[in-house]
Amino acid sequence: MATVSLKGLSKSYGKTRAVTDLSVDIADGEFFVILGPSGAGKTTTLKSIAGLVDIDGGTVRIGANDVTLVEPYHRNVAMAFESYALYPQKTVSENLASPLKSGRTGKYTDAQQRERIDQVTTTLGINHLLKRFPRELSNGQRQRVALGRVLVRPADVYLLDEPLSHLDAKLRAAMRAELKQLGAMSKTTTVYVTHDYQEALALGDRIAVLREGALVQIGTPEDIWRRPADTFVARALGQPEINLLDGEVEDGRIRLGDGSFDVPVPSAVHVRGGDRVRVGLRPCDIHVIGDGEAAATRLTGTVVLAERLGRNIELTVELGGEQLIVLASGREGVDEGAQVSMTFADGDVHVFGAGTDPGDDTQRLGADDKVEAAR
């Protein structure tokens, strides 16, 4: 149990800059998630904490100690690898015993070792696999064993590198729930790396979003979801992706598309008439309403595509020369070709700076954005 503090962490592989000047403070006992697309430097950050990469600059502190130059085996951290990294020539129980036998994680008698292994395998439901070799396990089982090797011993920090990425969707959801319970149970500081926004939002006490090795935003899941610091974060979270529309401010409203529809400017955002802005609207925040229903803001468009995704229907609605993705409940009975009315809460309108081209990432606009200044 310890805090983790990174200051100015930098690492390059040849000409590629994996992590650039990253500073993060992780509190004791926190479940901290690092979220980012592949190549964002997540694993490099994690391995820097573990001491598995030689960092080019900056410091790593665990607890009160500066461990920047400390060998991995003296750092007392446990890590689950994305590849599981189970020893192929050892059985599951030997794999789990490995950290207990090294002598650097404390001294354990054979009985104590057995007890700890038994405890962790019971928690993870892999009791019956102890005599098997890693090659005889399914991916889900291997993942549990890898997790077990982390949990079997007391460590200052648990590092989990995309532990769920190679599982199928259903198993992933189940394991996510289990991880949440485990995280609540153990009071050990945990750093969790993932590219899956759902995992991040579900598990994290706080989330740091990385992009090309640099910190974009850090905050609670609520913060990150409600107030994304820029369009990159906004797009990274949510499936289907957030709708981003360019518009111009006019009379306290933002005219979008060819100017035939508009959205209100949220109260916290200070813009003047004539400003070019980019508006973000999450598909799940837009609601389909009946013709008779009253709404402060009403958008009307034509459904060009309706995809049934089980619980929801994903509608592609065309209005004013733009296309909006809308996640509808499916009870409205809208079909392709039909006219549809939609509304949304003013507070769900995200306003970002205007970009020169659609792929640009632009900063969130607004006065109350404490989240913008990371930490």
């Binding site: 890590m79 990294a85 189970l86 490995s98 950290p99 994680t105 090797r149």
Partner: protein
């Protein structure tokens, strides 16, 4: 419900089954001819080894087989037919080659690990330099080596032979094992480091057992190369450290008569140790032990 047996019809062939076509028949015939052609020298050697002194130069296949040649070769103490003690030479060969292989493994495995794991400035040059020992024909270096060996007293010693034979085996071991270590996922050793093991222990505990098939393959190949070496023992050794490759040729002459039948018998005996070794360790040669450790 009764399960009806699957019967392939004429148009359906089982996996691996092929229809006979003129092309495939011709190809098979061609392969058979090639097989006979390439095996003929070995067959001829066996036949020759079973012939007696009168029949040894005949070119037809009619002869009265005898095992006496093998007995003669093995019992030859350097007094009867030739000046060589064949059994002693066989033992020397085992010692020399075994020694060279052990030296190559003890030094070569860590070297291969380092070369496979860490890339630094000049690391590939270093590897190439090591391989370049194998480029130069042995005859090119043999004269200076002979002079040096004479001066420092290594001529005709087993230590000297081991030293020179590891020049042959070391590059092999390092180059074969380097690729094994390169294929080995680094995650495994990193996991061991985080389990609290030092780099050395991580290497011994994790990396070494996984590359065991590679070590077996490299050791076998190195042994065969050392065993087959002829030039070094011919020039740098005599009766004390002389190997079996040189001893075989002693049956060819020197005493006025060439004993081709004895030479053939000696060659067959000399081929046995590598053959037996290969058969013994062949189960280690199967790769894929690391399957299951890391996702594909």
């Amino acid at each position: 419900m009764a399960i009806t047996r699957f019967k392939p019809t004429r148009s359906e062939l089982l996996p691996g089954q092929r229809r006979l076509s003129p092309g495939s028949v011709t190809a098979d015939l061609g392969l058979i001819i090639w097989f006979v052609f390439s095996l003929f020298p070995i067959a001829w050697m066996v036949i020759l080894a079973l012939k007696n002194a009168q029949e040894q130069t005949t070119t037809y296949f009619q002869f009265s087989p005898t095992w006496s040649n093998f007995a003669t070769v093995v019992s030859d103490k350097g007094t009867q037919m030739t000046s060589v003690d064949f059994k002693a030479a066989l033992l020397t060969s085992l010692l020399n080659c075994g020694g060279a292989v052990i030296v190559s493994l003890v030094i070569g495995i860590p070297a291969a690990y380092a070369a496979g794991r860490w890339k630094y400035k000049g690391s590939s040059d270093l590897m190439f330099q090591m391989l370049s020992f194998r480029f130069a024909p042995e005859l090119m270096v043999i004269v200076p080596l002979f002079v040096i060996y004479n001066q420092i007293g290594l001529f005709d010693t087993k230590v000297g032979m081991i030293w020179v034979l590891q020049l042959v085996t070391m590059p092999l071991v390092v180059w074969i094992l380097r690729s094994y270590f390169e294929d080995l996922p680094e995650d495994l050793e990193q996991a061991a480091l985080l389990d609290g093991y030092t780099r050395t222990r991580a290497f011994v505990m994790v990396a070494l057992p996984i590359v065991r098939p590679g070590i077996a393959a490299a050791a076998l190949l190195a042994f065969i190369f050392a065993w087959n070496n002829y030039v070094f023992p011919l020039i740098l050794a005599d009766s004390n450290a002389g190997t079996v490759t040189v001893a075989i040729t002693k049956f060819l002459g020197g005493g006025g008569q060439a004993y081709y039948n004895l030479t053939a018998a000696a060659a067959i005996i000399a081929a046995l140790p590598p053959l037996i070794l290969a058969l013994t360790i062949q189960r280690y040669l199967v790769r894929g032990l690391s399957f299951g450790a890391v996702k594909a």
